[in-house]
Each structure stands twice: as C-alpha cells, then as structure tokens.
C-alpha cells in the first residue's frame, strides 16, 4: 500500500509518498493564492491508496478531497522527526506562519506543545519580510547574518515595528549584515523561550522551513549551548510524518 502525506503550509506545500515505511517520492510547490489547486497540481500523475493532510490548509483539503484524513502539524512533525532521529525528545518547528515547540517522551508521544500567538513574530514570514527590507534574497539572508561581525540589538518583536526599526537603522548607516544578525537573534530568543516553556530536554531537532537557514541553526544551538539536530529536508517533516502515520494505521 502506498500512503501519501501532504503538508499544506502558508508558504509551501509538500508531498511525501511512503510504502512500507520507506519514502518513495517527495515533491514540493508554492502554496500561492489557491492552496487547493496547488495541492492538486502537486498530486498530478502520482498514485497512492490513502492520503493524510496536515498543515494549516488540512481542513480545506479534507473538504475538497473526500477520502483524506487529517492530523495536526504537531503530531505530524513529531512522527516525521522521530523517523530520522529516534532519540529526539524535543522539536522546534518554525514554518512560514507559525512556530512551535514540542516535548516528546521516550516513545515519541507528544507530551506538551506551545504555539506562537496570532501574529507573525518569530516565524519564517518575519524573516522573509525582513530579508526583503534589507534587500537580501531569502537564501542569502542566513549566510549574510552568519558572516556579521557583531550582534545588533533589535527591540521590536512585532513585524510592523521591526520593519520601521530596520528602516531607521539603515538610515543611520548601520551594517546590513549586522542588522540581519540582530533580526535572527530576536527570532532565536522567542524560539528558545518556547522550548523552555515545554521543558525541552535531551536531543532537540529543528524542523520546518526555517531550519534550512544556517544562521538560525547556529544561533539556536549557541543559545541552548548544545548541538541541534537538523533533518536533511526539515521542511518535509510534516508531510513525511503524515504519510508515516497513515502507513502505520494500515
């Protein structure tokens, strides 16, 4: 039996196909303005027996696709992460629109989780907007911040206020890379706070799209004073987990 997992996030959609607990295919596309037709596009030409949806668009997908089941991002990420790192006891997941921390027990069960509040502070969206403000492409943003010589304090957590703070820092002639680093640091502080709130201990995995940012990974692990595990494709963990949960159910 082939099981599909689809993660409909605010920014991207991932699809993973699994057979007998082995990944046989992965795909990804932008969410765009019409998540459901994007989801259908990503599913074109593939065959599967069962599908499980996760991510913020999961309920929409369930309505559009009769046979779909749903699972939350929290449980899906936990399942995906444990597949790659069976020893993981905590997860930091930062995606496009929200960020989460999850504590697991030895068996991989979710024991406690936290999610960010309604706004975009501390999420991928925040970093994306700030990169734009500073004239960096998203994939240059992390490396540029990493290369900065020192941290620059950014005081605003709110995306809108942070934007104006950045504008005035630029006007003052501050170094672009240092501003970038300061912005990363403010996301890291929130993330670490969230991990502390669930009582994260033991091996911690960083998943979600933002884990592809090398500066974020470095700074989170510096802040926690320990190594952070990062999956090969951190943005795939939700879809992978959903497919695995479906497959395990049989």
């Amino acid at each position: 039996m082939i099981c599909a997992g689809i993660d409909i996030g605010s920014r991207s959609i991932e699809l993973v196909l699994v057979e007998n607990q082995k990944v046989i295919e992965t795909r990804q596309t932008d969410t765009g303005f019409d998540p459901i037709s994007q989801a259908k596009k990503v599913m074109e030409g593939i065959k599967f027996d069962k599908i499980m949806a996760t991510g913020y668009g999961r309920n929409l997908f369930e309505l559009a696709y009769d046979d779909a089941l749903t699972v939350t991002e929290i449980k899906a990420h936990a399942a995906g992460v444990r597949l790659e790192f069976p020893e993981a006891l905590a997860i930091l997941d930062i995606g496009g629109q929200d960020s989460k921390s999850i504590r697991l027990n030895e068996q991989g069960r979710v024991m406690k989780f936290e999610m960010n509040d309604r706004c975009a502070a501390g999420t991928g969206k925040f970093l994306e907007i700030m990169a734009q403000n500073l004239g960096f492409a998203l994939d240059e943003f992390g490396p540029a911040a990493l290369a900065a010589q020192k941290d620059l304090q950014i005081n605003s957590m709110c995306t809108v206020f942070a934007e104006s703070e950045v504008t005035s820092l630029i006007a003052k002639g501050q170094d672009r890379q240092e501003i970038a680093r300061g912005l990363h640091l403010s996301v890291v502080k929130r993330a670490v706070g969230m991990l502390n709130r669930v009582g994260a201990q033991g091996p911690i995995v960083f998943s979600g799209g933002v884990a592809q940012n090398p500066c974020m990974v470095k700074m989170v692990s510096d802040a926690l004073a320990k190594e952070i595990l990062v999956p090969e494709s951190p943005q795939m963990m939700g879809a992978l987990g959903a497919a695995m949960i479906m497959d395990a159910r049989g």
């Binding site: 913020y56 309920n59 699972v71 991002e73 929290i74 979710v110 024991m111 406690k112 309604r118």
Partner: protein, 426 residues
Amino acid sequence: MSNDYAPMWESLGMDLKAHDALLDVLGQGYQDIYLAQKNRPEGMSYFDFVMSEVHGLRIKELLDEKKQNRKIIGSYCVFVPEEIVLAGGATLVGLCSGADFAIEDVEKHLPRNTCSLIKSSFGFKLGRVCPYLESADMIVGENTCDGKKKAYETFAGMVDNLYVMDLPQVKSSQGRSLLKKEFERFKTAVEELTGNKITVDTLKEGIKVVNAKRAALHRLATLRKADPVPISGLDALLANQVFFYDNPARFTESVNKICDELEVRIKENQGVFPAKTPRILISGCPMAVPNWKLPWIIETSGAVIVGEESCVGERGTRNLTDDSGQSLDELMEAVTDRYFKVDCAIFTPNQKRSDHIVEMAKAYGANGVIHYGLQFCQPYIMESIPVENTLENLGIPCMRIETDYGMEDMGQLKTRVEAFIEQISD
C-alpha cells in the same frame, strides 16, 4: 424571532436596527453551533425555545412582572445572592456579556486591553441592544477584579441604577465579615427597592427555590460522568447559561426533565458521542451567552466536554445554601457561608480552586483540562500557570488558552485544540 416584539423593545429605548443585527448573528450562531449537533436529547428543545425567545417572550414575562410591581435586578457576577433577591419579591437576571458589540464606542471609555467580558457589558449598554439591561430596576456591580471594579466607576455614569457591592479578596474571618455586612447592606437595598420586608419565611423560600435549581444542575452534572456521555458539553453549557435568566421554577423543572431522559439514555448505553471519545474539562473564565467559540471547536474536533469549572458552571452552582436556620440572622449567616466558598480567581490565596479542578477532572474522568482565559484577564490567566503545574504534576495534561470574543484566531485555536486532543487520546 417575530417582529411583534418591536414595540416592546422600542418602549425599552433600545436601538432596533442594531438589535436586529445582533439577533441575526445570534440566530445564525445558534443554528450553526447548537442545532447542527447530532443526537441531542429531546428535552433540549425547551432550551432551543428559550434561546429563540431570549429577547422576546422572557422579556415580556419580566415586563409583565414589572406591571405587577415586581422589581427586576440585573447582575454580572455569581456573588450577587439570588436568595435575597427572591426573598425581597424581586427577580434576578444575569446580564450576559458574551459578544463583542459597539467596540469603537466602548473604546472611548475603556482601554483597548480590557477583557472582552467587560467590554461587552459596556457595548451592550452603549449600543442599547440588551433588553435585560434596559428593563432592570437595579443593576448590581461588584468589586471583584480590578478591571470590573474600575469599569463600574465609569458604568455608573451610563446607567442611573447601579448598586456597587464590595467583596473581600481574602478568605479570612475579616473577609467573611465584610461579605456578611455587604449582604446585609444588599438586603436592605433590595427591601428599599421593592418595599417588601424580607422575613424568615421569604428568605427560606428564596433559598429553597435557588437550591432546587442548583440541585437540578448537580443532577445533570453527575450524569455526564457516564461513558458514552449522554449530553454534549455545548448543551450542558447552555443549561448553565440559561440558569441566569430563566424563571427559576420552570428552569428547575426543565433540567430535571432532561435528566430523566438522560438516565434512560445511560441505561440504554446511548451517547451523543461514541464511547471512549476523549473527555475534556474546561476551567477558567466564565462563558456568558453567546460565547460558544471554544466549546464548539472542542466538540467539532473529536472530543467531548464533560464539565466546566467556571462561574457559568460548577464553580457558580456547586454549593447549596443551608436553609435550616430559624432566625433571619442564622439564614443570612448561611447565605454568607455559601457564597464565601465561591473560589473566584480574585481571591488570594486560592488553593481551593486548584483542588476543585483536580477533583472535577477525576470525578468526570477527564483525559485533559483546557484552561480558558480571556485575553487581559489577569486573575485567571495568572492563576492558569500554577493550575497547569498542579495538574501536570499529577499526570493530568493541561493546555492553557488565551482568547477573546473575536473569530480571527479560529484556525489557530482549532490546531491547538486538535493537537491537544491527539495528545490525550493516543
């Protein structure tokens, strides 16, 4: 609701257009949330009727009572003793405050970061959409949280019949004597309002009537211990909400009738949700009509609510008043004793509330507790942290939610609630 009531509303000085808009929203919400449920007990049709006539028939009844010279007293808190109101020959109605209304007007008087409940009470007044408020001969405010007590200072200028009751904050002997004195003062105020002297007999009778409606709710609560649960949490919440404004005797009778039906259901092993559905206890801020957002999300996400540790729920109704006293003073002592046990988060310290949550979680077989705090409500939100710690140390999962009456966080809330249900179910 039929428009026959328009002249009545108009005579109360209400804003008909705004009121129509409110009723539309309420009606639609009720349809989507309540009537869309499956397997509801037949007895709930009574509450459906009450809700459909909430601004109609019930108001007409109250106005008829007023014509007979009976006074109507409105309250915002479970600390206002209905026993005394009834003993004085008056009727008590709860003023609900469960929806955002006229927010721009409200924010001219209150800071934006005030809890939705307080804002709503202002909104209903400023928007002139609440017939209960408009028909009340006396409105009782009480010095509970800082938000409320300061808000009443402003509210006093908006209505001409506000009576403010002071409340203790510590469960000490001084605290108790303050409460007793305030209840004595309230008794006198009721007597002055109604022109009736409260006697041993009328107070005994008042106690009996209120105890009976509480006892009916106890019976309902007990039936929710069964698995499968014979009634949804939404329906039970509705009963707890209607408690505050229906005619007491009719309410008691209707709840008991539902209980008869539920007992049969339990015997036949029939439930509203399948057996083994994850069970959730809600704890925290009161949920006034029509604040159904969180319960609705929970019960459409695969769990059932088995109890509410709330003033609109067990915190407000669990204790009865001893009616054995022979003198007025003995009875007033009993009333004081009863209310002094209410473990509102404005008290400090407030260990009893945590204990009660644990006790309820166990008694109702809850798999987890969702602590509900209205945004900007300091007493309950602050208390939610020690409550969570206590529960988790006992191995009872707890999730804290902070929200308001707005709908923009529906998606977020749904994800949290679903994830919590997953957490407690496998």
